[in-house]
Amino acid sequence: MRPLTFRKLFFQCLLLAVILFFVVILALKFGAVPVSLYALGRDLLRVLLGQSSQISSDYGLIIQNIRFPRILLAIIVGASLSVAGTSFQALLRNPLADPYVLGVSYGAAVTAVLGLVAEPHLALPPALAALFTPLCAFIGAVATITAVYFLGRRQGQIESNTLLLGGVITGYFLSAIIVFLLSTVNSSNTRGMVFWLMGNLSTSFQKSVYWFLAAGFLVATGVIYASANDLNILLSGEKEAMHLGVDVRRVRFVVYVAASLLTGLAVSVSGAIGYVGLIVPHIIRLIFGSDHRTLLPTSALGGAIAMVIADTLARIVVAPNELPVGAVTAVVGAPLFIYLLRRRLA
């Protein structure tokens, strides 16, 4: 009997944070233009000392204005998708659930595209205009998870395989709608098809968008984390959880909304990146166990690490060209998904 203590949790997170730090350094170093670790260290020191002006301008431009914002985006998107995946897995009691597999990412993408098309015609105040697309994506995510949830329900019980199949088919349907929308509406504001269908982290945004994403991530993850113990018990089934004192309806509602928000935020800035929310929580579970008090924060860090690595690979594998990051995560994720599916059926 060795129960979880705060100390243990802290060191687990610290370990992952250190790994994330080194991964970020390497991600800054690698790319179309090589940067030496020495130069990176020197520039980092200068930034810390408040002497950013001494950084040579082209290095500064690449590191500060191109690579760093992109890594930041990868961190937030990876962490959001992992936390959303972990939450869906617990709520649906299905270890194969993930925003992408369930079609939720595509649902968010459909409404995000619609939002982008509609936004110029709405004459919104600029503060609201920046939030409009993420908000649309959130609504799409909530609508899709609701639809898939009811598709997977039979006689009041969630049926795992029906649910997964329902999610996959919904995803196909929605991706067809995305293709249709992007083919018919030729708005200058919409990004390409590959962006929405495969995911891409190369778009750069205004500074306020990063703050908004980070704040949304922290709030939604905090809300889910407050139910960590309830989620642990939900794993034994909704009926049992009720008998053990979990307010199942409240927890389900709150966590669905928060996980959909995370998915919507991630999709609105990066498109539908697959499998991260599936694979990362699984690997984390193998290492740290399935207690959500540990699983949620470590998955968030793990998702950030995985996404930074995937995006770095996407940048350097076919340099100077780029792969969409979703292609990298799918190449690694899909075989792992099949492995997990086979193992579960066995």
């Binding site: 009997m1 129960p3 979880l4 203590t5 705060f6 009691r93 299905n94 270890p95 984390y225 407050a226 139910s227 960590a228 113990n229 309830d230 642990n232 018990i233 794993l235 034994s236 089934g237 009926k239 049992e240 009720m242 008998h243 053990l244 004192g245 979990v246 307010d247 199942v248 579970r285 399935s290 207690d291 008090r293």
Partner: protein, 286 residues
């Protein structure tokens, strides 16, 4: 099976000195109806049922399949709310308590659903402490002590660090009971706890139940198909048939040949044994 230390014993209610005089659970004219669709006639109804149970008492609910045993159990657990009537636990209406408060007073033992991810036995039993703590917290020393004692009470201490999917059916059933004990309830509900258990394990489980209910004044309600085990262990028997409660009373009064034959649709013989408990023999089809 040795009794646990009293330091972290499950809550010993004040009323334990006044053995079984006051009513703990009162089921008053409770009815229920299931229907797939509100506009249609109900598929199943539970007609007005009443009975009372005292601290330390074991009540067995008997009846053939689809007689309403499990529905009654869900109503007592507060998961379903009755169509009419009310169920009181120490004077409080059960289904209007919050899930947390309810879980502090009522524990349910049923066939457990398959676990999604492997859990250790002690982690599983620790779930019983959920309703007693804040949502986001770490297990306290007291929780650990209560879990250890609960495992001790069902003689499963040695299983503590094993994985739930690596223990036998009988061991698992005892661990599920331990989780219910860790809830420190007033009311212990068991839905066919002896299903899939061999005879020795069945008797072991019920012996443990009787000892625990005598010691900690749990009121135990158990749904079962085992006529003889109910006769041996129950203080009261509730006999049900197609949504109606036919009789309530001590086994000796309920176990009458004609009545049981009519309810269970099988020829049988009832004999009264020396200690006043009946025994049922099913007669082979002749």
């Amino acid at each position: 099976m040795s009794p646990g230390r009293s330091s972290a014993a499950p809550r010993a209610p004040l009323e334990s000195t006044r053995v079984g005089t006051e009513v703990r659970l009162a089921v008053e004219q409770v009815s229920y109806a299931y229907s797939a669709n509100p506009s249609q006639a109900p598929l199943f109804t539970l007609e007005a049922t009443s009975f009372q149970a005292r601290p330390g008492e074991i009540v067995a609910i008997l009846g053939p399949n689809a007689s309403g045993k499990s529905t009654l159990m869900q109503l007592i657990a507060g998961v379903l709310s009755p169509l009419s009537g009310r169920i009181l636990l120490n004077g409080f209406v059960i289904h209007s308590l919050s899930p947390r408060t309810r879980a502090q007073r009522i524990a349910m033992v049923q066939q457990e659903s398959r676990l999604l991810f492997p859990a250790r036995v002690w982690e599983f039993v620790m779930q019983g402490r959920h309703a007693h703590g804040r949502s986001l917290r770490f297990e306290s020393h007291t929780d650990m002590q209560i879990v250890q004692d609960a495992l001790l009470h069902v003689s499963a201490s040695h299983l503590s660090d094993r994985l739930m999917d690596q223990i036998s059916g009988g061991e698992k059933q005892r661990v599920i009971l331990a989780r219910a004990l860790a809830q420190q309830p007033l009311l212990l509900l068991l839905d066919e706890p002896t299903l899939h258990l061999d005879i020795a394990a069945q008797v072991g489980l019920l012996d443990a139940l009787r000892r625990l209910s005598a010691r900690y004044r749990y009121t135990v309600i158990v749904v079962t198909h085992e006529l003889n085990l109910a006769a041996e262990y129950a203080d009261q028997v509730l006999l049900m048939q197609s949504g109606r409660c036919l009789r309530v009373g001590p086994p000796a009064a309920i176990y009458q040949r004609e009545l049981l034959e009519q309810v269970f649709q099988i020829p049988l013989r009832v004999e009264m044994r020396g200690h006043g408990r009946p025994r049922v023999t099913i007669l082979a089809d002749s």
